[in-house]
Assembly symmetry: C4
Homo-oligomer: 317 residues x 4
């Protein structure tokens, strides 16, 4: 572990903005979210509403829409019932239930602007409430459908990462590497990778952060997969560490991928992390592509994490 805090290697602390003093748990979850619980933030604020509605689950969102539709109609139905159903032209029955349901369905026909007209206002007061409801319907459906389409078209990366990172032979020395591919068929351009390591400093057990130099930090085109490699030469903070060292220092490798989505002309990001338990020693990645009979390359996405034993593997980086 001494190599991590040797005087000759100035370690930029807090390089990621992760000003955390976490315990044994990981700082970045596998899906890229931060392992942080926010307290003191108001649960319901205007600026959070849009964010919640865009990011909540799809089923939850549709249920909320449906519920909002039911509740709004129930409220307007109550107003119409309060004004009296004698203010309507209608053909329905005269029981209380008939009146309530007619009021409810008239409301629904007004809110959606379908307006069949078999139930229609027969007094100015009801007409005024119905005009207001149709205005409200147009505005609230604009928000609902805007959100629906916004959710549908929201750009988001769908990289699939190898489940393990590897410590494997690399050009005569050893390299720390992982692989990822694009799960979607959109075209990604100018893909950039940043890898940082967080670890417990041997002396005072405070968590430190250090950026890892990559063999290559940007590629122009990304048709298939990219194996990101940190060469473990003498200048690497990993140099000389063993598998036990990695676990003892609770090392976590934090990955940030940035890319330009050519199909939708937007920049997207994705994060993930590897903890010491997710680092394999003595394996290498199997190829994901092979040449098809027609000369094109067949690419197997499911093999992104496929590994095989590597010769010449070392127990020390």
């Amino acid at each position: 572990m001494a190599s991590l805090i040797s005087p000759g290697k100035p370690i930029p602390n807090d390089d990621l903005g992760l000003g955390l003093r976490t315990g044994p748990a990981r700082g970045v979850n596998k899906d890229g979210s931060f392992n942080v619980r926010r307290a003191g933030r108001p649960l319901f604020r205007g600026y959070e509403l849009y964010h919640s509605l865009i990011t909540m689950g799809g089923f939850q969102f549709l249920a909320l829409l449906f519920l909002g539709f039911l509740v709004t109609n129930a409220l307007f139905a109550a107003v119409y019932l309060g004004l009296g159903m004698e203010h309507f032209i209608r053909t329905g029955g005269s029981t209380r239930l008939d009146q309530m349901l007619d009021a409810f369905f008239f409301s629904a026909q007004t809110l959606t602007t379908v307006g069949y007209g078999h139930i229609s206002p027969n007094s100015h007061l009801v007409s005024a409430v119905a005009a207001l409801e149709s205005l409200l319907g147009l505005l609230s459906f604009a928000l609902a459908t805007g959100l629906l389409y916004g959710r549908f078209s929201r750009p988001h990366a769908q990289m699939c990462f190898s489940h393990h990172a590897l410590v494997a032979p690399y050009r005569g020395i050893t390299g720390f590497m992982f692989r990822f591919a694009n799960r979607r068929s959109n075209q990604l351009i100018e893909v950039e990778a940043t890898v940082s390591m967080s670890f417990l400093d041997g002396d005072n057990q405070t968590r430190r952060y250090v950026a890892l130099e990559l063999e290559r930090s940007k590629i122009n085109l990304f048709p298939t997969s990219w194996t990101v490699v940190h060469p473990i030469d003498e200048s690497s903070p990993l140099h000389g560490m063993t598998e036990a060292d990695l676990r003892r220092s609770q090392a976590e490798f934090i990955v940030l991928i940035k890319a330009f989505d050519d199909t939708f002309a937007q920049t997207i990001y994705q994060r993930t992390s590897y903890v010491a338990d997710e680092v394999l020693w003595g394996f290498r990645f199997k190829p994901m592509a092979s040449l098809g009979p027609d000369g094109s390359t067949e690419f197997r996405l499911r093999d992104v994490g496929a590994v095989e034993a590597a010769e010449g593997a070392q127990s020390r980086m």
Copy 2:
């Protein structure tokens, strides 16, 4: 103050584009807007309308929408009344008020395209006006609902800054620092900070601007908070100044934060400023995060400005 205009330190003037000669007032307000009044700009121009409608208050916007709905209906009602209500199939009363209200509500049912049909055109002229009104309704509701959703989904930063900036011990020397956190739960990436100081030059009392070097000007991830630090070493324009110097030179620290909003794939900016009265000497920031029982980090947003007395504080930078 001599340090500010010493010959060895070339000061880039007008570095921010704030070509202002303000008096004692601040150049940038606490909410990031500029303290400038624009004259000679036409009050109503096409290119200002969209901007006004997007940035006006929410209540004001909804009131304007409602007013527009009322006025448009009143105008079309006047046209229908002018043509004569005998051109309509209707079941309503025959008083003047009945006619006026029927005209108004027919207009509302046409503009919203709800079209119940219990009032409907019975002449070609009225049909033509109604066709025009429904076309106008579709187009104007498209603008209204587009604006409503545009306002709702407009990206904007919601950083909360510490109320005070601090002059506090920092790695053996003194540092000028402030802290900020993200109030929203959207994920911010690649956060950049720029800090400039504006001050009255001691000799000729003209306002000058100088950029302050930061310990770190960019962080990759921003899960919690960031304490931005300008180390006051010998090359700092603040070096050797006292609290009284700061006030006398009417110093203002102008902060520009840039970040990429990972949730919505957009770049956002936020500005703020600290004047001399908002700089505390001899305090340091209290931690905002603590380790929860389950190993995750709890982060208290309300503590972004919490300070405590610092040992070894100096009265001179």
Copy 3:
């Protein structure tokens, strides 16, 4: 003119991508468009339609919308008439004109989905055509209203530039300068300027391009105005030139401004150019801002081009 082609000053040719050999006319028009006529480009192609509809004049666009509404209704009315108006439930007259207008207005009520119902289909064939028309109406109004809102909300810079560029004293030497301000009240951030000169090379009268070094090419904040300055020192390609030299070489100064619109989170660009006739010698810009009684700065947009005679003006750069 010798200074423009002196051997010590390698001039990057074609620096702007303006691979033009124009005659005396300017390459970039005052409004930033290129003085180029494109031939051989198909007049009507799918990928041009959206562009044309977004950039055409507002009155023209609305007229096109209205015309499209009339024509579509006329076409569907013809179909309904062809099928026979006896297939409708209607209360209108029986003359040919009555039938035609009823068909037209039924079409309008279907296309806009207002659907009063006083005219309604009474045969399956007419119902099928009407269902098709309402589907078409929803889709085409989606395009029309999308375009309407897209036009309304399209980001575009509204810089106003000084009408003249100046050759004026600047820090002991001479500078080439112009001034611009933001006409809109949106907040611009990180404003960048690029200035290039195009001129006829004295020897072979071919047009060359050279980038001009600026005193400052980027400002962080842009609350008021920015005077962009090219200092004419010995390394400047303008060094030693007279007003007559500028005109003889048909010099044109091409300006590209880039900014980030903080209000709408989008990057915007604006271009303009100054030809030799638009360069004033021996003047300087008058201030645009003055201190208001309440300490805020009043900024006069109309003074962006206001100049006054400068002392110490030279007839040679």
Copy 4:
């Protein structure tokens, strides 16, 4: 071929992220798509649906919309028929076919919210289904019309490239060059070009990648065309190669163009490639522009690939 693997020229392998070991076929197709077949990717996943709907052919998309409309109406018609057409107020006939078509057209009038009312619900159950259908109609038409407009307004580059790349005399040496122009009339700004060569390494027949240095890799304005040139000096990996060498090594030149679309404020990319068979030796590009009678420049897009024999052509680069 020795020049390609000479020790003094370190060749960055895999520079483009094209981790492919293709055979004789090209890696990047003429239209910029990758010559890769993806296996193991689920054919139908939520995150692929939006992408497919945006990128499929226009006729296919409209057919899908129409089919969806038919199927949805057929399904709801089946529900209404199941409930019994006696639950409707209607004027139509009593045969089974009449009932089926009335149910179908009532559904269509509800889904599009046109709601004439000549067929209208006469029971609460039918009213409830109709309310649900109108809600579904509003939501699904929001997606359909959002997609329709999203397709219409999606930014995409429409560069047209010269069909051949040339090896031609260039400033005393030889250059590898191609030309492209913007087919659309939108304004492109800050256009950048990247050119890489992929080839079979003579020794072990594995495919290698090398970036080619360009005379200029970025231009600020792009009014007409740009001839991108790689000067073949001694440091070029092409230096000394003959036409036969190019073919034998199955060389492919991969082009990536990046530009900012000034009209729509979006960054766009376009790719293409040239294989050895598409490289002409001993020709040069003919001018695309000529001076019009009014002093403006006429630009012929169709001449982007026009070439003429070049004097002094060499058979070796």
